[in-house]
């Protein structure tokens, strides 16, 4: 018998619960077709996505303050549909603490986004970020690629109360490395956002660490939201595990209603 959620997927129907996208972006990037807020909301409504957690692409590219401000405007205009990660860059270590304080005073920011950009995560520059995250109980979304986590594991170990989302878990087929680390550190969450949908990947993570610490994200506007959702929807795990990944875990992290 076909799983109830798989039936929804095959029919292109909304799921019986609303999704929370834990990893998306706001802004323009390369030659991608950037969606307007209205288009983005229309897509979210069509797919049954309640909330999208975004970080700024302009901030990632280096215009940190301007990018965070663009995102703040989106959060102000659409409370309850978008939440934000403050993006800070270790390339400007002297600005990190101030930018975090400034943005976290604005409504809608619920986490911090970091990207190593040549500076490893165990660099002292990132320490203040984790200290603040620990003090305010905020999740940190950290970009990764492949099996080399560039010092993130050291920082996660030093700040065990900070939930750390390992973005692009399983990238480069390095599933075992991510699962092994997450087994050792209960504050690590495996973020499934990835252009490649490797067979058995979602099932392997759930088998290794349980569904409670696996989170779904779309990476919009880089990848299709429906595509990223389908990787979980059609994974061979139970419906309750799918719900945890697609909604409950992110709701808990962002302190949103279950």
């Amino acid at each position: 018998m076909i799983d109830e959620l798989v039936q929804c997927g095959l029919a292109g129907r909304k799921l019986p619960f609303r999704l929370i996208d834990a990893h998306a972006h706001w802004g323009r990037w390369q030659n991608y077709d950037t969606l307007s807020a209205q288009d983005c909301l229309a897509e979210m409504d069509r797919l049954g996505v309640e909330v999208m957690a975004c970080s700024s692409l302009l901030a990632l590219a280096g215009e940190v303050r301007r990018g965070n401000d663009e995102l703040a405007e989106l959060l102000r205009q659409h409370p309850g549909r978008f939440v934000g990660y403050v993006h800070v860059s270790a390339a400007y270590p002297e600005q990190m603490a101030g930018e975090l304080e400034r943005c976290l005073a604005m409504p809608g920011f619920v986490g911090i986004k970091i990207y190593q950009q040549g500076i490893n995560y165990d660099d002292v520059a990132f320490e203040s970020v984790f200290e603040l995250a620990a003090a305010r109980q905020l999740p940190v979304l950290a970009h990764n690629w492949g099996a080399r986590l560039t010092g993130l594991e050291k920082m996660a170990e030093k700040f065990p109360s900070v939930p750390v989302l390992l973005a692009h878990s399983g990238s480069d087929m390095a599933y075992k490395a991510y699962a092994k680390l997450a087994r050792q550190m209960p504050n690590l969450y495996l973020d499934l956002t990835l252009s490649r949908g490797y067979a058995g990947g979602v099932e392997y993570f759930v088998e290794q660490i349980g569904a409670e610490r696996v989170v779904w994200g779309s990476d919009e506007p880089l990848f299709s939201m429906a595509n990223q959702m389908g990787k979980v929807l059609f994974a061979r795990i139970s419906s309750s595990q799918k719900r945890m990944i697609l909604r409950d875990n992110a709701a808990r992290l962002f302190k949103l209603p279950a």
Binding site: V6, Y32, G197, A199, F223, F234, R236
Partner: protein, 249 residues
């Protein structure tokens, strides 16, 4: 709605991961779970330097054992006496019921050189055979050149990346017989809808890239697309069915 996975590998190969559903029975389990009716299958030996003949025999055997598998042959050049000629390939494919093929030039130094592959490509064009080509190896300019020399060739591009539209759209505008298979990661946001707006639904084909890649993401990409049911049905299976029906080997 009939769903055909138009790009599916079968069998063990070096580099294969045990996490992947390599065996035919495992692939069938995945297909059942995801509601996929049938799959166009090639041998995973394509990922190795193994003989094309061995790979084709395995694809034919798999299809002979399960009617849900439709065999896809690997084709390569006829440069030396011991290599199959295009006519040999046509005969072998007829016998095996194969109505799709994959060009295997990317692991050899001649690339898409048409003075090496010309006879083979001519046979494919005349037979209206859907000929799969991975864009991982050749340069876009080579693909364009090949299409210019064989305008009736029904190329099905695979491994088109999610950020490829800048070169893909101009290529598709230049060559009307070129199709795109979604497998394994043609996933730009709202990309299916945009593709259909520009080129219609006929030139987009659902395929998974099993066993390395799971079908779920690409299935949802189509089932949740903001398109009518008939467009979705064409992408999910109708287009591939039509292509195979029109083959005249």
């Amino acid at each position: 709605m009939k769903i055909i996975d138009a790009f599916c590998g079968l069998g063990p190969y070096w580099g294969g991961d045990r996490m992947q559903p390599l065996e035919a029975a495992q692939v069938l389990e995945v297909m059942d779970y995801c509601g996929i009716d049938s799959a166009v299958v090639y041998s995973n030996l394509v990922h190795t330097p193994a003989s094309v003949g061995d790979a084709n025999q395995l694809a034919a055997e798999a299809a002979g054992q399960c009617s849900r598998f439709l065999p896809m042959f690997l084709l390569t050049t006829h440069a030396l006496d011991h290599m199959p000629t295009p006519a040999d390939y046509a005969r072998q494919m007829r016998q095996a019921g194969a109505r799709a093929a994959m060009l295997r030039p990317t692991s050899v130094p001649y690339g898409l050189c048409t003075w090496v592959l010309g006879e083979l490509l001519e046979m494919c064009a005349q037979a209206r055979l859907p000929l799969y080509l991975s864009v991982l190896g050749p340069r876009v300019e080579e693909v364009d050149s090949l299409c210019r020399q064989f305008p009736r060739l029904r190329l099905v591009l695979t491994h088109v990346d999610y950020n490829a539209d800048s070169w893909l759209y101009p290529l598709l505008r230049r060559h009307r017989e070129v199709r795109v298979c979604l497998a394994p990661y043609y996933i730009p946001p709202l990309g299916v809808e945009r593709f259909v707006r520009h080129f219609g639904p006929q030139r987009l084909i659902f395929g998974s890239g099993l066993p390395q890649y799971a079908p779920g993401g690409l299935l949802a990409l189509v089932t949740y697309a903001d398109l009518g049911d008939s467009d979705k049905a064409m992408i999910l299976g109708g287009n591939m069915e039509s292509l195979m029906r029109e083959v005249a080997l």
